[in-house]
Symmetry: C2
Subunit: 866 residues, 2 copies
C-alpha cells in the first residue's frame, strides 16, 4: 500500500536553501546561474531525501509541485547527484505532452514541431519509465506523424493502456521511475566504481522547457570556452536549429558553427545577439563559478535560455592549463589551483601520449608498467637496441623478462615489452626509473627468441624490424606507427610546479644512476639525488670484464689490483654526476647486487669468459656454479659483500672522495652522501664506517683538499628498522628502502609476485599491490618504528624514503606525518611528488586554520579533481 | 722498588673464613675435608687479593707464613682458582729442599728418596720459577745422584747463582712466580676460553708435604668411585709406591691396582687399613660434598694422608648417571640434580657416539650438523641409499647438497655428508629433524657425481661402497668402521626427564612429519606434534607422479580430479599419524613449498616427465621454466598456493577430517590442528578458513561423526607478527616459525648464508648465527609484538614457537618469559628442551623464593655443570 506523505521540494530561487549535499550538484549550479541573473527557466529541486522517499513508495503533492509552472508548460526532469561524475538516469524532456497539447501546439508551433515534441516524450516514457523494449520505439526513418502513431500504438499494445494523458500522472511516474533507477543494483555499482559512497543520494531537477522547436529562430546547443584536449582558449560548441537538449552534439547534419566560419553558417551570424549574450554569460560563469564550464542553451523563437552548465571534462593537460589560467586571472587562489590537480594525472604530461583521436589496431595487451607511448622497430636483444639507436632508429626492445645486462639496451630503446613480470618486475622498475614506456606481462604473445619471432594469439607473426607502437599507460601494443602527442612541460606546468614548491614542506629528491638520469632530475627540479645505484656502472663492456676478473681473483691483493683499474672509471662516473648536481646533495649507495649477476648465464658466455680469463672452462663453470644462490634477494649482497670483500667498498669510497676533491680543487662544492645497503646489524655499519673514514683521511692527505661527506644506512631489512636505535649513532642519515622492506615484511619477492598479485588484488586479499602502494599498516609500521628509534638515538638524523614508493602521494603523506625529511623517487615521479607534497601541506594548513577559505579548500580536497 | 706490605693469608681450619670466591675452589674444598676430620696435612690459603698483590710486587711476611709448619717441613704450592675448570699454574712440590735437608733426609729416608725429592724440586724451580730451558733439566735415564748434580750445575751455569738454599726465599719465589704466571696474557686467554671472567682471581694453597718416599709403605695415588665414561659405581684409581703427587697416573710401571685383582698386586692387599679408610673417606666426601670426587692421597710410612679432592671429570652420560644417583640417594634434591646437567649435553646421549678410546683416522672435516656417529658404505644417490637399506646395509649418503627429493634417501641412510651448506642448510635441518648424523660443508673433498668418486685433498680417492664413519658431533669423517657407544636412554635418563617434566611450566611438542618421527616423539615424551609438514608426503614415487599431473592440469576440475586420487593416500598418512599420537594434539601445516620443487631439474627427468604425461618435451620444458622463481623462498608458496589453487588445501582438509572421523568411529579421539603457512594478511586466513569450515561441515555430514578441530596460523613473515591483532580473531593458535621469521627479518636466506656466516661470526658482526640461536633483539621483538597483539585481540589464543629454534634453551627461556604456551622442536631436541624448560622454571622459582635452598641453587646455576 502506498503511503501518502508530503515530500519536500523547493523552487530554485536565489535565496532558496539548496546545497550540493542535499539537492545535488546540478540543482546547486542552477541556483548559482539564477543568482547571476542568467535566463534560466523556472526550476524546482527535489532533495535526496525526497527522491529516496519516492523510491520507497511515498506520494508527492503533484498539485503543489505543478503550481509554479503555467498550465500549458512542458517540463524536463534531470538528475542532480552530489558529484556530477557519479552519473544518474538520463534526462526526460517534454513531460506534459498529450493528445490535447499536441493539437494545441500544432496550432502555435506547427504540426511538425508539435509532433516531434510528443514523439520524443512518448519514446522516452515508454522506454525509461514504462520499461518497454526500446526497439519497438525506434521509429527512425519514419515520417513524424506516422512515427508518433506507431509509438502510441506500440505503447497501447504492450501495456493494454492508453498512453497517459494527465501531466501530473506523467511527471509523477517519471520522477518515481528515476528515483527507483538510482536505487537499482547496477546503477549503484556503477557509481561506486566512479568513487561514490554506497549511500550516495540523488536529487532531481524539474525545469520548465524552453522549446527548441517552433517558429522564429529556435534550437539548442552547447558552448565551451577552451579546448578540452589542449586547454587553449577558444569558443567551441555546436548549435542545431529546431532541436532540443544536446541534439546538436549527436546530430552533426545541419548543425551550425558557433563563430563565423568559412566552412558554413554560424550562430554568430544567424543570431548575433544570442551569440553575444552567450559569450558574456560564459565570462560571468567562469569568473563567478570559478571553473571552466560547458553551457547548455536553447533559443526559443529568438529568445536565449540557459538550461544548464556543467564542469567541462578535460584531458589532464587541458585541466592543468585551465586551472593555472584561473589562478593567473585571479579567479582562484594558487593554493586552490594546486589542489585541483590529481598528482597522478601529471605523469601523463611528462611523456608522449597516443593521440586519443587516432585509430588503434590493438595487437596485444599487457600491464602498462611505465607510462607514455613510443613507436619503434622490434628488436630482441639489448645489443640490437643499442645498434638501432646508434643508427638513429627507434627500437622497441622485446624480451621474455629483463636482467641487469639489458639495462643499457633499455636506455637505448624507445620502449620495452616483456612477456613476463608484473608492475614491479625488473623491466617495470628500470623503465619507470629512466622514463622509458614499458609494457610487461604480455603473456598472450608467444616469443621465439631463437627465431626472433613473436606469434600472436590469432596466429599473426611479428618479426625483427616490424614497426609497432606501445602505450605504456594503457598496456596496449598497437600495429605500426600511431600519431603521438608530445609531452606538455609548458609554462602552465612550470607555474604550477613553482607554486607547489612554495607550498610543500618535505624534500623531494630523485633516484638517478646515470648522468642522463641526473640531468632529468635537474629538469624536474629535484632537490638532489636521493639514491644513486652504482651497480649499473659495472655493466658497461670494459668494466664488466674487469668485474669478472675481480670476481675470479683468488687473493685480496689480486682483487685490489683489478679494482685499482676500475677506480679511474668509477671516479670519472662520480665526477660527471657531481658536476651535473653541483650544489646539491648526491646520495650514493655502495655496491649492492650479488656477484653472480655479473657472470654469464649461457654456455656460450661461459666459454667466452674462460677464454678471456685464460682458465679451463670447467674451472669457470664450477666457480660460476658455486656463486649461484637459492634466493639471491636474501643472499650475499649489499653490506655482506662490503664486509667479506672489503676491497670493493674501499675502491668505491676512494673514487667518491677523489671525485669530491677534484670538484673542490676546481672551486666547486659537493657533499657526497655514502649509503650502506642491506644492513641488519649495528656492527656492519661500524666495520664499513671505519674503513671509509680511513679512506677519506687518506684522500684528504693525498689531495690536500678538505671536503665534507656524510655516511648513512639504507634501512631495508625489518631488523634494521627494529634496531634503528642501535644503528643511528653511526649513521648521519637513514634512508628507508621500501621495496626491499616490503619484500621482507611480506616474505614476497617482487620478481615472483607477478604470478599471483593480480588475483590477490582481485580477491581483495591485498587492497592493492604493496609494491605499488605503500602498505602503511605493516611496512609503514616498520618505517615508523625505525624513524622513531633512529631519531630518539640521534636527534639530528636525517630520515628519508627512497625507491619506487617514494613518489607515490600516499607514501609522501605517510612520510610527512612520520616526520621524514625527504622522499626520493624516479625523476619522472618528481613532479607528481612535488605536487602531492604541496597538497598535503595545504590540506594540513587548512585543517589547522579552519578559516572560511580553508573550509572551501577542504570541500575541494574532499574529492579528487577531474 | 718493591713495596713492603702485610699480605693476608689464613691457615685452613674448620672455622677459618674461607670461600671459593675469595680463596678459590681448592682452598674451600680442603677446608671441607678438614671439617670432615680427614687427615689433611697442614695448609695455608692465600686469597685472590694476596696473589694479586704478590704479582704486583708486594712482599709477603715469610716468617709468619712459615711459622705454622715445622722447621724441617717440606711444602707444596697448588693453585686455587674460583672454578677448578679454569686451570692455573702447575703444583710445585718439595719446597724447602736444599743441600742441608738433602743430607738430613738422606739419613732419615735413605739417599735415594732424599735425592729424588731434591731433584724434583730443582727441576720444577728451574723450569717454572727461574724459567730456564726445560730440556736442560730433563735428566731422565740418569742415575739419581748424577741427575741431581747435573741439574744443580745447569742451574748455576744458566743463572750464575747457586741454587737457592733458603726455604723462605724458595717459597717466596715460587709464590710470586705462580702469581705472575696467572696474570700473563696466554694464561688469561686460556681461562677465558674456559668461561672465566677477564678478572678472575687466583688463590694459592701452601701445604705441608706428606712424603710418598722413604721407609715403610710410602707412595701416592688417586681414587674415584664411579667410572668416568659410563657413570657406573666402581672403585677405580692407581697407587704407586715411592712416588709423589699424581705420579701413579703418569707412570703405570709398578703401579698397583686398588682393589684385589688377579692381574697383579693391589693396595687392598698391600695396605688394607689405608684402603678401608680411603673407601670410608670416599663415602663421606660424596655424602657431605654432594658430588662425585676424585681423591688424591699419600701414604707416608704406612700413614694415610688426603692431599686433595677434585670434582671428577665425567662424560655426559656418566655425569647424568652420577647426578641422578646423588638425588636418588637423597644427597641432593631432585631440583639440584636437574640444574647440574647442561641440557645441550643430553644430545650426545641420544645418539651413538664414537668410542673416545678408539683410534681415529680423520679423512676429512666439515661442520658437525646433526649429532651422533654412524658407519656405512658410501652412496651418491638417494635411490642407492634406499637400495642399501632394503638390503640391510648401512649407507652414508654423500651429496653436493640435498634437496627435498633426497629426503627419503636421508631417512634410509645411516648418515649424510654434503660438500656444501651450513648449520641450517637443507641437509642439516632435515638430518637433525630425523636424528640422522650429518656433516655439511665438507668443502675440502672434491666430489665427482658422474664418476661416483670423492677425491681427498691428499689425492686419495673414495668410491661407492667404501666404508666410512662420520661423527656428526665433531664434523670428522673417519676411515673404515670405528667402535661406537650406543645411546644411553637408561633409567637415570628417564628419571631425570620425569623430574624435569614435573618442574617445567611450558609445553614441549615435537616436529614430526612421518610415522617414524611421531614414534620418536612419543619415545621422547613430547606433548603432541607441534609441526607436521605435509610436503614430504608428496615425494614418494607414486605420489610424485600424481603431484606432477596436478601441476600440469589446466583447469581447476582437472586438478581436483588428480587430487581426488591423492586423497586416500593422504588420509591414510593422517590416520597412521593420529593412531600413533592418540590423545595428543597434532598440528598439521598445510602444503607449503613452491610447486617447482616437485618438478624434475635435469634434462633426463624432463624427458621422463614428458613421456609420463604424454606431452611434447617442449611443452613440459616451457611449463617447468614458467614455474621457476627468482627467490623461491619469497615466491608462490604457502597460503599463496592455498588461495590461488584452493583445490590442494581442500583435499588436505578433507583428508585430515576424514581421518579424524575414522579415528572417532573407532572410538578414539584426536583434535587435529590445521595451520596455514606464510600468512601475511588477515584476509588470507579468512578465505582459507571459509573453505576449511565448509569441508569440515561436509565431512561431518557424510560420516555422521562429530569431531573437534582447531585452525591456526603460522606466523613467519614480519608482517604477520605486526598484524597479529588482525589475524588472531580467526586463529585459535599462532605458531611462530622462527626460521622464516629470521630469514625475513635479516633479509637472509639460510641456504645462502653459509657462504659468509662463519666469517660474520668470527668478525663479531653477528654474535652468533641467528639461525642457530634465536636473535632475541630483532626476531625476538617480532615474537613479542606478535604475541602481545595476538593475545590482546584474543585472550585465549595459544602461542607457540616451532622450527629449529624451538629446542634451543635460549629460545625456551625467551618463550617462557613472553608467555608462550609451548615450543615445538625436532624429536631429538625434545629431551634437551624438557630439561632446559625445567631449569628455567626452577631458576625463576629460586629467584622468587630467595630461600637458603634457592640461594644455593643459584650458586649452582651461576655456572654450567661440567
Amino acid at each position: 500500500m502506498q503511503k501518502k506523505h508530503s515530500i519536500a521540494f523547493t523552487e530554485v530561487t536565489p535565496t532558496a536553501k539548496i546545497a550540493a549535499d542535499t539537492h545535488g550538484g546540478r540543482a546547486k549550479c542552477l541556483q548559482r546561474l539564477i543568482r547571476l541573473d542568467l535566463p534560466v527557466p523556472r526550476t524546482i529541486a527535489l532533495p535526496f531525501e525526497a527522491v529516496h522517499a519516492l523510491a520507497a513508495g511515498e506520494m508527492l503533492d503533484m498539485k503543489r509541485l505543478l503550481a509554479p509552472f503555467g498550465p500549458d508548460a512542458l517540463l524536463s526532469v534531470r538528475p542532480s547527484s552530489e558529484d556530477p561524475d557519479w552519473g544518474g538516469p538520463g534526462a526526460i524532456l517534454n513531460i506534459g505532452m498529450n493528445d490535447a497539447r499536441h493539437a494545441a501546439l500544432s496550432r502555435s508551433l506547427g504540426r511538425e514541431a508539435a509532433t516531434a515534441l510528443y514523439l520524443r516524450f512518448v519514446q522516452a516514457f515508454a522506454v525509461h519509465v514504462a520499461r518497454l523494449d526500446a526497439e519497438m520505439f525506434d521509429q527512425r526513418g519514419e515520417d513524424g506523424e506516422a512515427a508518433l502513431a506507431a509509438a502510441l500504438a506500440a505503447y497501447e499494445a504492450e501495456t493494454d493502456e492508453q498512453f497517459p494523458q494527465d501531466p501530473a500522472h506523467q511527471l509523477s511516474e517519471v520522477l518515481r521511475s528515476m528515483a527507483r533507477a538510482w536505487e537499482g543494483t547496477s546503477a549503484r555499482l556503477l557509481r561506486q566504481a566512479r568513487g561514490a559512497p554506497a549511500d550516495a543520494g540523488l536529487g532531481l531537477v524539474v525545469q520548465q522547457m524552453a522549446l527548441g522547436v517552433g517558429p522564429g529562430e529556435s534550437g539548442s546547443g552547447v558552448i565551451q570556452f577552451i579546448d578540452e584536449t589542449t586547454g587553449e582558449p577558444c569558443i567551441k560548441g555546436r548549435y542545431l536549429s529546431q532541436s532540443q537538449g544536446r541534439d546538436a552534439l549527436v546530430q552533426s547534419k545541419g548543425a551550425l558553427y558557433l563563430t563565423k566560419d568559412p566552412r558554413g553558417p554560424s550562430l554568430e551570424e544567424r543570431a548575433p545577439e544570442c551569440f553575444t549574450a552567450l559569450i558574456e554569460y560564459g565570462r560571468t560563469i567562469r569568473t563567478r563559478l570559478r571553473e571552466e564550464m560547458q553551457i547548455e542553451f536553447t533559443i526559443e523563437n529568438g529568445r536565449l535560455h540557459v538550461l544548464d552548465a556543467v564542469r567541462l571534462r578535460r584531458s589532464p593537460r587541458a585541466l592543468l592549463r585551465s586551472v593555472v589560467a584561473l589562478a593567473e586571472d585571479g579567479i582562484i587562489p594558487r593554493e586552490e589551483a594546486l589542489c585541483r590537480i590529481d598528482p597522478h594525472a601529471l605523469t601523463e604530461l611528462l611523456h608522449p601520449q597516443i593521440d586519443p583521436e587516432a585509430p588503434r589496431e590493438v595487437l596485444l595487451e599487457g600491464l602498462g608498467a611505465s607510462p607514455g607511448a613510443a613507436t619503434g622497430r622490434i628488436v630482441f636483444t639489448a645489443e640490437a637496441a643499442q645498434a638501432a639507436e646508434a643508427q638513429g632508429e627507434g627500437a622497441i626492445l622485446v624480451r621474455r623478462e629483463t636482467t641487469p645486462e639489458d639495462v643499457r639496451g633499455m636506455h637505448a630503446a624507445r620502449g620495452v615489452l616483456t612477456e613476463k613480470g608484473g608492475m614491479t618486475s625488473h623491466a617495470a622498475v628500470i623503465a619507470r626509473g629512466i622514463g622509458v614506456p614499458c609494457i610487461v606481462g604480455a603473456s598472450a604473445m608467444s616469443l621465439d627468441l631463437r627465431e626472433h619471432r613473436i606469434t600472436l594469439e590469432d596466429g599473426r607473426v611479428l618479426g625483427e624490424g616490424d614497426l609497432i607502437t606501445i602505450d605504456g599507460t594503457s598496456g596496449e601494443v598497437l600495429g605500426g606507427a600511431v600519431p603521438l602527442l608530445e609531452p606538455a612541460l609548458d609554462d602552465a606546468f612550470n607555474s604550477l610546479m613553482r607554486w607547489a614548491d612554495a607550498a610543500r614542506d618535505i624534500g623531494i629528491r630523485a633516484n638517478a644512476d646515470t648522468p642522463g638520469d641526473a640531468r632529468m632530475a635537474r629538469t624536474f627540479a629535484a632537490e638532489g639525488i636521493g639514491l644513486c645505484r652504482t651497480e649499473h656502472m659495472f655493466f658497461e663492456e670494459d668494466r664488466l670484464t674487469l668485474m669478472r676478473e675481480m670476481i675470479f681473483a683468488d687473493a685480496p691483493e689480486d682483487r685490489a689490483a683489478v679494482l685499482e683499474r676500475l677506480l679511474p672509471l668509477q671516479r670519472a662516473d662520480f665526477e660527471e654526476l657531481f658536476e651535473i648536481m653541483q650544489g646539491q646533495p648526491v646520495c650514493i649507495r655502495l655496491f649492492d647486487p650479488p656477484l653472480h649477476e655479473f657472470l654469464p648465464a649461457t654456455r656460450e658466455g661461459l666459454r667466452e669468459l674462460a677464454e678471456a680469463l685464460d682458465l679451463p672452462l670447467s674451472d669457470v663453470t664450477r666457480r660460476v656454479e658455486a656463486l649461484k644462490e637459492f634466493n639471491p634477494m636474501l643472499g650475499m649482497r649489499g653490506v655482506r659483500l662490503g664486509i667479506t670483500i672489503p676491497e670493493i667498498y674501499d675502491m668505491q669510497a676512494r673514487a667518491i672522495f677523489e671525485a669530491t676533491a677534484e670538484i673542490a680543487r676546481k672551486g666547486g662544492t659537493v657533499v657526497p652522501e655514502i649509503m650502506i645497503p642491506l644492513v641488519s646489524a649495528r656492527r656492519e655499519v661500524e666495520i664499513v664506517k671505519t674503513r671509509i673514514d680511513s679512506t677519506a683521511a687518506a684522500v684528504r692527505t693525498e689531495t690536500g683538499q678538505d671536503f665534507a661527506w656524510r655516511l648513512g644506512v639504507m634501512v631495508e631489512t625489518p631488523r634494521a628498522a627494529l634496531r634503528a636505535g642501535d644503528i643511528a649513532p653511526n649513521a648521519e642519515f637513514l634512508s628507508f628502502g621500501t621495496n626491499d622492506l616490503t619484500q621482507m615484511a611480506y616474505g614476497l619477492s617482487r620478481d615472483d609476485a607477478g604470478r599471483f598479485m593480480s588475483q590477490y588484488v582481485r580477491l581483495g586479499v591485498f587492497d592493492e599491490d604493496p609494491f605499488h602502494r605503500l602498505d602503511t599498516e605493516g611496512v609503514g609500521e616498520l618505517l615508523m618504528i625505525g624513524a622513531e628509534r633512529g631519531r630518539a638515538a640521534r636527534g639530528d638524523v636525517v630520515l628519508a624514503v627512497c625507491g619506487e614508493h617514494g613518489g607515490n602521494p600516499e607514501s609522501i603523506e605517510f612520510c610527512r606525518k612520520a616526520g621524514f625529511d625527504y622522499v626520493s623517487c624516479s625523476p619522472f615521479r618528481v613532479p607528481v611528488a612535488r605536487l602531492a607534497a604541496a597538497q598535503f601541506a595545504l590540506r594540513e594548513a587548512a585543517g589547522r586554520k579552519k578559516s572560511k577559505l580553508s573550509q572551501r579548500l577542504m570541500e575541494v580536497f574532499a574529492r579528487p579533481a577531474e
